[in-house]
């Protein structure tokens, strides 16, 4: 593995972004309007990165040493230096494969999906920029570069959620995502500061080595690391939509569906998981994993319950994403870093697949998302149906599909940590299977409730869209089997063993037993959904209090609004605007203006318009200056 490979890997999407950006600015109608051109440029750029990622992965797999090199010093000070440097080890290479692989397929899918959109070129420019930022996030060999990528993906997420900026809801959702993310980023920044204060550097290698060294604990004590890791976890909560900062993710579905698939399901939202996995050494030492695990499992359960009652396909998928992210945090929280990352990988594939399928449905249904107006789509859209079914089975933990392997590993590890967590996780697994198949039965089976005019041109999506679906379906189904066969002795664990430290809680109990339990739970969920929704439409009105609570998402948005948004708005209006801005600041500004006006009015008399008066004063000045220079210096 050479530096050139990584530079090409990193720069290709940037080039794609620049080219597409310039095309967007171009006044040339032929170039600007050419959808195919920008679409394929964008896809090609990611394809280049994908090839590079595969090469990097292959060389690592072939036994090459992890790459960790500093390119140059970025910011230097008297006592510190921040570098531009890259690190490619097993974890990074897996992330690279996920990002570029899923990313490439979604790019190709977007060519068809975004067909005819006005911002076509802009869309691909943003998408390429996102890939670039995400690559920086995973490639950096220090926290600062990770933070740069972290902010970069946040920016792209904001831009893409608000992609259809004519829509008020879209811009609002973008702003919401941005602001909520800022809270998390604040924590991340503070975490970075803490680390820098403690270690004087932000390089992964140096920090981990120093933290593992014996004398560190004596000098700083573990509390520093506790604070640092918790603060970093705040960042992860924001980025990965955990309780209490998950509220932005469901709203983020206002963006184009491929964006939801790529950014808000497969890659960006998993950055928090990646970050914790990357900092595994610190979390192990600080013993803060339990906090992570608890937040994760609660989020998983909480989001799953909300998903039960939603009727909007993309929202269900969004809450499902939040829930699955909770699983990942549960995994990394209990010390099963490899399992968490493994779930990240499988989830990227099947959730990406499901989002794209939802997009395909939307595409066919003229942007209709409410599944109560669907039904019986299986006949009209067979490929979409089958691919979605694969994804749903995978997420539901159907035996031997990918979700089964990764989720099972996490639950197995959770048992080792705490049976309560395990129990909540198991319930969540049941709920997951239930709401997913509720979605499938209502959408694809039963009577067609499609509006007649929509029904008339209901059709299967074009090849450029369903081919990526089909391709994605294969890894969604099989990747778990390939990577996860053998539980903790699997290939994936073997491959990533060098990166992660030993877990605290050795998983105990019979592996097969756990597998059977979780399979049964998943199948039960599917069966329950089949029994309730095979022939039924979800009711319009909530029937009881619990249902109502769930439909309204526990009133979290309303609570936030009442507790945070309104006080700030009122404070701004009455205190900041009326008193501070109008009274104090305007008073100062106007006062300065009046004073200057008064001075100017007085000084105006000096400007006589007579040139010679000016010259006299000039000469006077010269004489005085010369005199000072000659006689006093």
């Amino acid at each position: 593995m050479t530096i050139e490979l990584i530079v090409v890997l990193l720069v290709a999407p940037l080039v794609g972004f620049l080219v597409n950006g310039l095309l967007g600015l171009s006044k040339n109608k032929g170039l600007k309007g050419n959808e195919q051109l920008s679409g394929w440029i964008g896809s090609l750029a990611v394809l280049v990165s994908l090839v590079c990622s595969i090469i990097a992965f292959a060389s690592l797999h072939g036994g090459a040493a992890p790459f960790d090199e500093t390119l140059y010093e970025w910011i230097t000070g008297e006592s510190f230096a921040f570098n531009i440097g890259f690190r490619v080890d097993a974890l990074t290479s897996v992330m690279l494969l996920v990002i570029t692989g899923v990313g490439f397929l979604i790019h190709v899918y977007s060519i068809g999906y975004m067909h005819g959109d006005e911002g076509y070129t802009r869309y691909f420019a943003y998408l390429n920029l996102f890939i670039f930022a995400m690559l920086i996030l995973v490639l950096g060999n220090n926290y600062l570069m990770m933070f740069v990528g972290w902010e970069g993906v946040g920016l792209c997420s904001y831009l893409l959620i608000g992609f259809w900026y004519e829509k008020q809801t879209a811009t609002d959702a973008g702003k919401k995502a941005f602001i909520v993310n800022r809270i998390g980023d604040f924590g991340f920044l503070l975490g970075m500061f803490t680390l820098f204060a403690a270690f004087g550097t932000l390089d992964f290698t140096s920090i981990f080595d120093a933290a593992e060294a014996d004398n560190f604990q004596k000098v700083f004590g573990a509390s520093t690391l506790v604070i640092a890791t918790l603060l970093l976890f705040v960042g992860a909560i924001g980025k990965s939509a955990q309780i209490p900062l998950y509220v932005w993710l469901p709203d983020a579905m206002e963006g184009p569906t491929p964006v939801s698939a790529l950014i808000h399901a497969a890659t960006m939202v998993t950055a928090g998981v990646y970050m914790i996995a990357r900092s595994a050494v610190l979390y192990n030492i600080a013993h803060t994993g339990e906090v992570v695990a608890w937040i994760g499992v609660l989020t998983a359960f909480f989001a799953a319950t909300i998903a039960l009652t939603q009727n909007d396909i993309k929202r269900i998928l969004a809450y499902s994403t939040v829930s699955q992210l909770g699983y990942m945090f549960l995994g990394v929280g209990v010390g099963a870093y490899a399992s968490g990352v493994f779930h990240l990988v499988t989830h990227a594939f099947f959730k990406g697949l499901m989002f794209l399928t939802a997009g395909s449905v939307m595409h066919a249904m003229a942007n209709e998302l409410d599944m109560r107006r669907m039904g019986g789509l299986k006949a009209k859209m067979p490929i979409t149906h089958w691919t979605f079914l694969v994804g749903a089975l995978a997420i539901a933990g159907f035996p031997f599909l990918s979700g089964f392997w990764s989720k099972d590993e996490i639950l197995h590890s959770a048992w080792g940590s705490s049976p309560i967590i395990y129990a909540i996780g198991l319930v969540t697994a049941f709920l997951t299977a239930f709401y997913m198949f509720r979605l499938i039965f209502v959408t694809f089976y039963g009577e067609s409730r499609v509006e007649p005019e929509v029904d008339s041109h209901l059709h299967e999506s074009p090849p450029v869209m369903w081919v990526p679906l089909a391709i994605l379906a294969i890894p969604s189904a099989l990747i778990g089997l390939l990577l996860g066969w053998g539980g903790h002795e699997s290939w994936f664990h073997h491959f990533t063993k060098s990166v992660f430290p030993e877990a605290h809680h050795e998983a105990s109990g019979n592996v097969i037993l756990f597998m059977v339990i979780s399979s049964v739970v998943g199948l039960a969920g599917i069966a329950f959904a089949w029994s309730r929704y095979r022939e039924r439409t979800p009711s319009e009105e909530p029937t009881n209090a619990l249902h109502k609570l769930l439909v309204n998402k526990y009133y979290v948005d309303e609570v936030y609004n009442a507790l945070i948004v309104q006080p700030i708005k009122n404070g701004s209006h009455y205190l900041l605007w009326r008193i501070v801005d109008n009274g104090i600041i305007d008073g100062i500004v106007n006062g300065i203006g009046s004073i200057i006006r008064f001075i100017g009015g007085t000084l105006r008399r000096l400007q006589t318009g007579l040139v010679q008066v000016y010259i006299v004063s000039m000469v006077l000045g010269i004489v005085l200056f010369l005199a000072y220079y000659l006689f006093f210096l």
Binding site: L603, R604, R605, L606, Q607, T608, G609, L610, V611, Q612, I615, V616, V619
Partner: protein, 131 residues
Amino acid sequence: MLQATITLQLYKGGIFIDRAIMPTTVKGKGFYMSLEYYLILSALLFTTGVIGVLIRRNAIIIFMCIELMLNAANLAFVAISRSLGEATGQVFVFFVMTVAAAEVAIGLAIIVSVFKHRQTVNVDEVNSLKG
């Protein structure tokens, strides 16, 4: 004891080609006019120009006084150039002259334009810029 360069060149006229020859022997101060006298003359000329600019109201005469100041500066340049024994000062004189020529052309054109509009070159009457 005439040692003027001109006469020497007259004598050498038939034979020399490109470079004039100056007396290079210096027997103490006062043999030739030392630098300071030229500089004093330059300062006096410059001051005369300054005073002219300050007390005259005719724009054209003011302009002439500016030329006078430029020339005083030129004199200082040439005097120092000789004192240092190199031609750089004279190159600057050349530049000053070029700029002066351009400035005169523009300045006189402005004066003519002003005269066309206001029928005067009295700077006291051209005071539309007063505050």
